[in-house]
């Protein structure tokens, strides 16, 4: 069904042109591509600022301060800390924004480290140990064999990768040399690292291929709807 003149047609046309402008990079770097990039960056920044104002500052800071009464006076503290961040624009007054920045960095680091230790490190270590829970897999020898292989492979990959990044060596007359076992494990770890990068590349390629397909599908759909 052909598109009639509507808001959808305008937005679709803009999207169509911007997509072509971005794809023009296949030829080489050109002004159309740059315009599309600049528009994207500008719109994204403006949209983020609008979201921060409309969804954060206004409803959660200014409105409570102006309409919330005495109970919300403590919001002055984050308000002042936020204002001090503007002093970072001036090298002479940048030191005044350091407390705010220190608070942000300190709280963020503490939250991230705590979450990483309790949410990733310990659970992952426990998971590795559980893979070697042989009594749990005793009833099903096939699952046990599969689990043992997977756990062994994971253990080998983890240890060999760590050994590969172990760069210390013994000082000998012929120069610093690593032991044979370390060299072998390091080579195995190098293989695991290469496989990991290959998997990551495949995932990125799959995501990019899907995005390209979605854009081409949009172009085809838009053009088919025009006629």
């Amino acid at each position: 069904m052909p598109l009639t003149f509507s808001w959808d047609l305008v937005t679709g046309l803009v999207s169509f042109l911007l997509t072509l402008m971005v794809l023009s990079y296949l030829i080489e770097d050109n002004p159309a591509f740059r315009v599309a990039i600049y528009v994207f960056i500008g719109v994204a920044a403006g949209y983020a600022a609008a979201v921060a104002w409309n969804q954060v500052l206004m409803p959660r800071l200014f409105l409570p301060l102006t309409q919330g009464g005495w109970t919300n006076l403590l919001l002055i503290v984050p308000f002042l800390l936020g204002l001090l961040l503007f002093t970072k624009l001036s090298p002479r007054l940048a030191w005044m924004g350091s407390p705010s920045l220190a608070l942000i960095v300190g709280v963020g680091a503490a939250v991230a480290v705590g979450g990483a230790v309790l949410g990733t490190l310990f659970p992952q270590m426990q998971a590795v140990v559980n893979d070697f829970d042989l009594p749990a897999l005793r009833d099903d020898w096939q699952a046990w064999l599969e689990g043992m292989f997977e756990a062994s492979l994971m253990l080998l990959g983890t240890v060999s990768t760590l050994v590969y990044f172990h760069f210390s060596a013994k000082a000998t007359s012929g120069g610093p040399q690593r032991g044979k076992l370390v060299n072998i494990l390091g080579w195995v770890g190098q293989v695991f690292v290469a496989i990991t990068f290959g998997v990551l590349f495949a995932g990125v390629f799959a995501a990019a291929m899907t995005a390209l397909i979605e854009r081409i599908n949009f172009l085809v759909t838009f053009v088919s709807q025009l006629f």
Binding site: P59, G115, G119, N217
Partner: protein, 785 residues
């Protein structure tokens, strides 16, 4: 009251002042240094040479330096006036003034320092040396300003009789400035016959043969000094000045004081008195020590012979240094208050270096530790400094130090000091003598300490006045260095040049790029346009897909679901294809949706996702709550997991969030039936897992992620931290097939399969081409080797 006229500005000053009221210059008689000596002496200059050059300048043409035993020739001593030390000039002028005003004021005791004033005028005496007339006063008050050979004349100033007040020249202070004085040369020339006898001997005598050194005779006028008291000078009395004869006679017989009238016309009175005192005091020092006078004195000028003996006496007197110094440093006890006014201001310096300019001496005379030099360590006129004793012998030299002065150097010696000071530095450096390593300190080249060594501590920049060495400007570089420098210069020049837009890629590269793009676009476009199936459906299902399906089927109706939209707009196509079927299945269960995002664009993407993929449910009255943007990153997630009501109070539209139907009965995170996370970033997914693990309780986590995040998120599924995982287009296609609801995944699937196949073929072809090229290159290199 007589005024003192400043020698610098000429302004009169009241008597008794030490400094000029007009210019601040010192009114005291300058120490023994000629005006030339007062000029700054620079490095490399030889002060002694420059001072003596004045003497050499006035030396008559064709007359060389006077050597030992040589008969001096009479000269026009008027030229010597310019070379006289300033102190002698000042004293002489003072004496002349006094003599002019009180010519008849004579005293039988002419032993006062102000003897020139009380003595007969030079014209009256006829043979008296007027400039020596000031020695009397100088000997009393300032021994350091007196030549050494005359220093012995006042060894014991305390025994000198006090000058009578009547004989003091009150007008002594009226010494006119030098410019007002008539030229000394003219004065002397106008009375040539009145020259003293010893100066008469300076007249050229070409027939005089230079006597041997052993036959050198001191001058007669010096023979009368205490240095040779026992032997009277045999020189002809017609040549010898009378006053010197008298002096000699007194030195020979100190006890015998001849009547002043006997020689009053020929010898200055003050010298007569001085002779008496010297005979009484200093003869005990010198009389027994002086060597006997040589017999050949007739061949030597009298004054030189006398000078020789006197120098010898001074050298020998070093052996009696203690007595000498005691006698010299003894102040005139009880007589200072009797001194005349013009002498009252002339104080004897406590130390030779205080207030006195540096000695202008040659290098040989720099060492004061040598014997025989003590008598010459005092301030001496330059022309007398040459007469210091020879270092190689114990006895002092009879003649000035022998120094060959070539006639062609006369012009150089006549240069004024201020002209010499303006010479180029190179000339000074060239003349500078390198300091001996054993010398203690470097000799000062200028200023009041000129000529002295080691008086200033050696420091950086103090001891050396040398010009830095000049190195060759031409660089010593090799050919390779020159080539490298040329290359570097070329590179620098190329960087500064404006280049036109460079066609970076060659035609072949551009062609290959277009070919690859066209092939890939064709592989993607053909399935989309034709609608035909090029890629077979998935065979079998991974474990996470089955577990996710089981999980979704366990949710009860009207279960609250929290959906997190944390992906960028660029991945909206992939995430939409992956999550459309899953969300559709959830919505079919009648669940209540609550949307939240930790990226600013997330709320809009959530709305767009629902509108584009779940239009059916929206049209049938789907109720959901969009909490909007959750600020703070991990901290915001932690805050929301801990207290969701306080963290997200309003919806994206500004309405109270927790009053909406979707959030009824929800007070904490664990109250949700499931947490569904849509993300393309492994870090974002991990943040939700880490920050909610302590608050989420038994609520399952289902993650719909992009394919690029799978390698990092899968371990969380394997560890059981997340219970469902849908990955990329493949996961969406699997759920579409499982639920037999074709959607975006199925539409994209053929293009995805064909495009991936083309990409893999091209990558493999490129790898094969690269290996082949490398093999051929290595083979070619092996053949060439």
């Amino acid at each position: 009251m007589a005024d003192l006229r400043c020698s610098k500005c000429g302004e009169p000053n009241p008597e008794g002042l030490e400094t000029c009221q007009n210019c601040g210059a010192s009114l005291l008689p300058p120490p023994a240094s000629t005006p030339l000596d007062s000029q700054p002496i620079h490095a490399g200059e030889k002060p002694t040479k420059k001072a003596t050059s004045e003497f050499e300048k006035v030396k008559l043409a064709g007359v060389g330096p006077i050597h030992a035993g040589e008969q001096p020739t009479p000269k026009d001593t008027g030229e010597l006036e310019r070379a006289l030390p300033s102190w002698l000039q000042s004293l002489r002028k003072g004496g002349k003034e006094a003599s002019a005003e009180s010519p008849a004021d004579t005293s039988p005791d002419l032993d006062l320092p102000a003897e020139p004033q009380s003595s007969q005028p030079a014209e009256a005496s006829g043979e008296s040396l007027d400039w020596l007339a000031g020695l009397g006063s100088a000997a009393t008050e300032d021994e350091e300003e007196v030549p050494d050979w005359l220093a012995g004349l006042h060894l014991e100033p305390d025994i000198l009789p006090a000058p009578p007040e009547a004989s003091l020249p009150s007008q002594a202070g009226k010494v006119p400035p030098e410019e007002e004085q008539p030229p000394a040369a003219a004065t002397v020339s106008s009375r040539g016959e009145s020259l003293p006898g010893w100066l008469e001997s300076l007249k050229p005598k070409p027939a005089v043969e230079e006597p041997p050194a052993g036959e050198e005779k001191p001058p007669e006028w010096l023979s009368g000094l205490p240095g040779t008291p026992e032997e009277p000078s045999p020189a002809a009395p017609s040549v010898e000045p009378d006053w010197l004869s008298k002096l000699k006679g007194k030195a020979v017989a100190p006890e015998e004081t001849p009547p002043p009238s006997a020689s009053g016309a020929e010898v200055p009175d003050w010298l007569s008195g001085l002779e008496t005192e010297v005979g009484a005091a200093a003869s005990s020092v010198f009389s027994s020590e002086l060597p006997p006078k040589q017999e050949s004195s007739a061949e030597v000028p009298d004054w030189l012979a006398q000078l020789k003996s006197d120098i010898k006496a001074a050298s020998e007197a070093e052996k009696h240094a203690e007595e000498f110094e005691q006698a010299a440093e003894m102040p005139p006890v009880g007589k200072k208050e009797e001194l005349p006014d013009w002498l009252a201001g002339v104080e004897r310096p406590t130390t030779p270096a205080a207030g006195a300019p540096a000695l202008v001496m040659s290098d040989e005379g720099a060492s004061s530790a040598e014997p025989g030099q003590a008598a010459f360590s005092l301030e001496t006129p330059d022309w007398l400094s040459k007469l210091r004793p020879d270092r190689g012998t114990e006895s002092p030299p009879l003649v000035p130090q022998e120094e060959e002065v070539e006639p062609e150097n006369l012009e150089t010696a006549e240069l004024p000091s201020w002209v010499q000071a303006m010479r180029p530095v190179e000339a000074v450096i060239a003349e500078a003598q390198p300091a001996a390593p054993d010398e203690v300190g470097a000799a000062e080249g200028s200023g009041p300490l000129a000529g002295l060594r080691g008086v200033l501590p050696a420091g950086q920049g103090l001891g050396s006045m040398r010009k830095p060495p000049v190195y060759a400007i031409k660089l010593q570089v090799t050919d390779n260095q020159q080539r490298y420098a040329a290359q570097l210069e070329k590179m620098i020049l190329e960087e500064g040049q404006v280049k036109g837009r460079k066609r970076a890629r060659s035609t072949s590269t551009m062609a290959w790029r277009l070919v690859i793009s066209i092939v890939l676009f064709a592989a993607i476009l053909i399935p989309l346009v034709t609608g035909q199936q090029f890629t077979p459906d998935l065979e079998g299902y991974p474990s996470e897909w089955a577990n996710t399906g089981v999980l979704l089927n366990q949710f009860p109706t009207d279960a609250p679901m929290l959906m997190v939209f944390d992906y960028d707009p660029a991945f909206s196509g992939e995430l939409a294809a992956s999550a459309a079927t899953v969300i559709d299945r959830v919505l079919f269960l009648g669940t209540r949706l609550t949307l939240v995002s930790t990226i600013p664009t997330g709320p809009a993407l959530a709305e767009q996702f629902l509108e584009s993929t779940q239009a059916y449910h929206l049209d049938t009255g789907l109720q959901y709550t969009n909490l909007g943007y959750l600020a703070g990153g991990p901290a915001g997630v932690l805050s929301f997991a801990t207290d969701p009501i306080a963290t997200a109070q309003l919806t994206v539209n500004g309405d109270p969030a927790w009053e909406t139907p979707a959030l009824q009965g929800i007070t904490r995170l664990s109250d949700f039936a499931a947490l569904i996370i849509l993300t393309d970033n492994a870090e974002t997914g991990r943040t939700w897992i880490e920050q909610t693990h302590s608050s989420i309780g038994n609520t399952p986590i289902l993650m719909i992620i992009s394919a690029q995040a799978e390698p990092m998120i899968r371990p969380y599924y394997d560890s059981g931290q997340i219970q469902g995982l849908v990955t990329g287009l493949v996961g969406g296609k699997a759920y579409e097939k499982n639920y037999a609801t074709p959607g975006l995944a199925r539409r994209y699937w053929d293009s995805f399969g064909l495009g991936t196949l083309v990409a893999v073929v091209m990558i493999a072809s490129g790898c094969a081409w690269g290996l082949l090229t490398a093999w051929r290159t290595r083979k070619k290199a092996g053949e060439e080797a």
